[in-house]
Symmetry: C2
Subunit: 512 residues, 2 copies
């Protein structure tokens, strides 16, 4: 990479978006735009997939892995000829072929250790709307495959190569419970031996462990989402709507990082809305007006060329935390940092969740919201899940809630708190996870605890009342597990002191 400037320093952050010449000098921008990086990343993953298949599949003889990509038709906005949104590639296909175009197929010829990409043959009329058909050679070079053919040649190519056994993707996503959405269904598939058993678990497991290239890529994606968070932080003020925070975040990530999609719907919960974990959906569309004295939970991350980022910052929007706000924020901050410190290979993720809950409980005792018992008694009564009714974090990659959380033979734990985890695995190098403790004052959840004598006895309602309706805080970073600890990909102001400094330092013109 050339000697480019980095914009990854929040202290000197520009309030306005960079101009075109500035932008082109930024190494993050250059890296994300570099087609070579994406090509090499997918090529390496294909090599690993072929190698793994050779060692784990019943046979590689006359056999191929075959994947179908996402279809344009899956994006129709109901019966209209418009799409929900611009096409987004299916994650497994993106993983091995790197291409973000609809209606493709791809094979890994296991015997020859080669890859073939299949793209749709386009009609004259299609070209009038979408541009001249590109030569097949363009795809071969751009995506680094062995060769490219048309989708209607799929059967012919399989025959030419003497392939008789197809490993196809079939499985259930452990987060959504949905089956694989891209089913290999070309006309002649019935003429082949089909193995539906081995590919899905193999690819899920591969996706859990990121390559160096993927980690570098995810780091840069993370930098851009972090920059966008700072952009919001420097513009936020009373009188704005929550949605205007979303607008500024999207503006930066699209302008700076070419992100046309968010990895997930932006959660911009101000005031009491901070306690709604997935606030911001169509029914609660980030439409509250920010008030002086509010806190806000901003859980926003863009998708960059297929890869997801997932980052939350929470702060007092006026840049001046009250003593109560400081105490709650500090609890979450310390829970997160305790986990950072403890994370390393061999550690169980549910134990990390329990650690975060324990730190939160310690602080809740200190604040006075919890009383009448020991820390151990409160842990045993699951008081952590009353104030943090979600898992500590999840695997992250192409999907926000990435695959591989519960491989075959494993299952969710049943106790409150850890039951919310999207994985109960033991940490290993190469895993990328979010670490996102939170502390919320959510009325339905609190009322349920107060109705349960085993939990109610620990709650000091008089103190709690001071916090009711104030929402809460969540802090979420994306981290990589290394040989002896973690690398945090998320570099952002986090503590209440850091947030105050950034918000207060924003140019006066932006703060009026």
């Amino acid at each position: 990479m050339s000697e480019a400037k980095s914009m990854n320093i929040w202290e000197s952050w520009p309030v306005e978006m960079p101009t075109a010449p500035e932008l082109r000098e930024c190494k993050e921008y250059q890296y994300l735009q570099d087609e070579g990086v994406q090509r090499e990343m997918a090529s390496e993953l294909r090599d690993i997939a072929i190698k793994t298949a050779h060692s784990k599949f019943p046979t590689a003889s006359k056999a191929a892995i075959i994947l179908k990509g996402g279809m344009e038709s899956q994006f129709s906005l109901y019966d209209s000829d418009t799409d929900h949104c611009t096409f987004r590639q299916e994650a497994f296909f993106r993983y091995l072929f790197g291409i973000n175009e609809p209606d493709c197929y791809g094979i890994l010829d296991l015997e020859r250790k080669e890859s073939v990409l299949f793209v749709p043959r386009v009609l004259d009329d299609w070209q009038r709307w979408h541009g001249a058909a590109l030569p097949l050679d363009y795809y071969t070079k751009r995506y680094g495959v062995t060769t490219t053919r048309y989708v209607d040649e799929l059967h012919t190519v399989l025959q030419e190569r003497g392939l008789e056994l197809l490993y196809v993707l079939r499985g259930v996503n452990s987060d959504s419970g949905l089956p694989t959405a891209t089913v290999v269904d070309f006309a002649e598939v019935g003429q082949y031996k089909v193995d539906e058993k081995h590919l899905h678990p193999m690819l899920c497991e591969m996706r859990v462990f990121k390559t160096k290239r993927e980690i570098e890529y995810m780091r840069v994606c993370n930098v851009v989402s972090c920059q966008a968070h700072v952009y919001v932080m420097r513009h936020i003020k009373a009188g704005m709507t929550e949605l205007q925070c979303e607008a500024l975040f999207k503006a930066w990530t699209c302008y700076f990082g070419a992100a046309r999609h968010m990895a997930y719907t932006c959660i911009c919960g101000s005031g009491p809305h901070g306690s709604i974990l997935h606030y911001g959906h169509a029914g609660r569309p980030n439409d509250r007006i920010l008030k002086d004295g509010d806190t806000i939970v901003l859980d926003m991350g863009a998708e960059f060329f297929g890869y997801s980022t997932d980052i939350t910052r929470s702060y007092a929007i006026n840049g001046k935390f009250t003593e109560d706000q400081k105490a709650v924020h500090q609890a979450v901050y310390e829970a997160q940092h305790a986990v950072f410190k403890a994370m390393k290979p061999g550690v169980s993720w549910p134990d990390m969740h329990r650690l975060a809950e324990r730190v939160l409980i310690q602080h809740l005792i200190k604040i006075g919201i919890l009383h009448n018992g020991t820390e151990e008694e409160m842990v045993a009564a699951h008081m952590g899940a009353v104030f943090q009714p979600h898992g500590l974090g999840h695997l992250l990659g192409l999907n926000v809630h990435d695959v591989g959380g519960y491989p075959e033979g494993t299952q969710r734990l049943s106790a409150p708190g850890v039951s919310y985890l999207r994985t109960s695995r033991t940490l290993q190098p190469g895993m990328v996870l979010t670490v996102e403790p939170g502390l919320y004052f959510n009325d339905p959840t609190l009322n349920k605890a107060l109705a349960n004598p085993d939990q109610a006895k620990f709650i000091n309602e008089k103190v709690l009342d001071r916090f009711r309706g104030t929402g809460g805080f969540r802090l979420e970073d994306d981290v990589v597990v290394t040989e002896d600890g973690i690398i945090n990909l998320t570099t952002l102001p986090t503590s209440w002191q850091e947030c105050e400094a950034v918000i207060q330092a924003a140019q006066p013109a932006q703060r009026k």
Copy 2:
């Protein structure tokens, strides 16, 4: 509406986005945020639907119109638990009920002339993620229906009301060829008489003719998309990517107009890409870098609370048109204005298309690209469709390509040019259409014409070569047909002189 400032004056346009207090004073912003406006719009439409059904349906006795809304499940990003994008309501449901939440039903009780909205009953666990369930009364007040019940009470409510006949929506979209995407399929539907014949044509026809309230609403939506176009126009310069134009457009419409969705994928075709009609799709993702001397076709419109805008501006990005660029731009401008002048009730839309083609041909002769024949001969040889290979415009409303273009018994014309039209109707008051002539230098289309002796003989290749690879221009406004002409909802710099003035006047800081 209060005495609010309007920001609809492009001459005094702020280069930066308005601050929160400024924004809240803008009448466009206030209007779009006003839930009362949306409630009254849908209430009036329900009244019209009930009245029309009484006059056109076989019976209103013991009968109801029933509609199913869009489903959350239709938005799944493949097998993951994330969505393609934030939920967007199905257009017919939005039309009559105004609500943008998934998994609802609605009925219009024709006998009682009442409306019932059905919302999903939510589980405890849903509330943890999405917020406390809102009381049914909230929906009744917010959307102005007679009453609100839970979806699981649908059969009970139909029984309570003694309803025996259900008019359901079933038909094919004449643009996409797709069947109705929201099929009424509650468990007990088999116990009712079902009429699939009358509702779809009736509602399609209703949607063709906008109410005064809808037109006012679409006007304000249009103002915000226009503002966003000016925002882009004042920031555009060589060195930016096409996608950064998209980023700025989306930023403004979301920040200013609470638009979380584009009505369609942004088309930002610079240089040669200007000739690709639907450039900007995933395979051509607006990734070219703008060069000094380029022209650009920016076809971008946001969706505001269900309603689509569809606007194109084209200009020289450096604010200085060359003589050739001026000549081509002027041709499109005059074609558009000739159509504006001729549009009124009773005029056939294909005739308007032919008028635009004729003006383009006149200019192509003047420029010297067409020669060796009379205007009439060139019209007869369909030379218009060689340079404008698309229809003049289409119905616009909740959908970008709105319904009702080809009612039962009508069909597309077959001649080149007019065959591209999405409607061949005769203009009537209340119709909203786009008027979008264009003139492009698209190599595949030109080569086809040059290979056809009947067309090639009119083309002066030597002059044409000067324009090859320069893309083209399209100008697109949204207009309402009135009793004696049209009202143009799109107020934007359009002519090359106006574009030059705006681009050159943008603050020096933005132009460096």
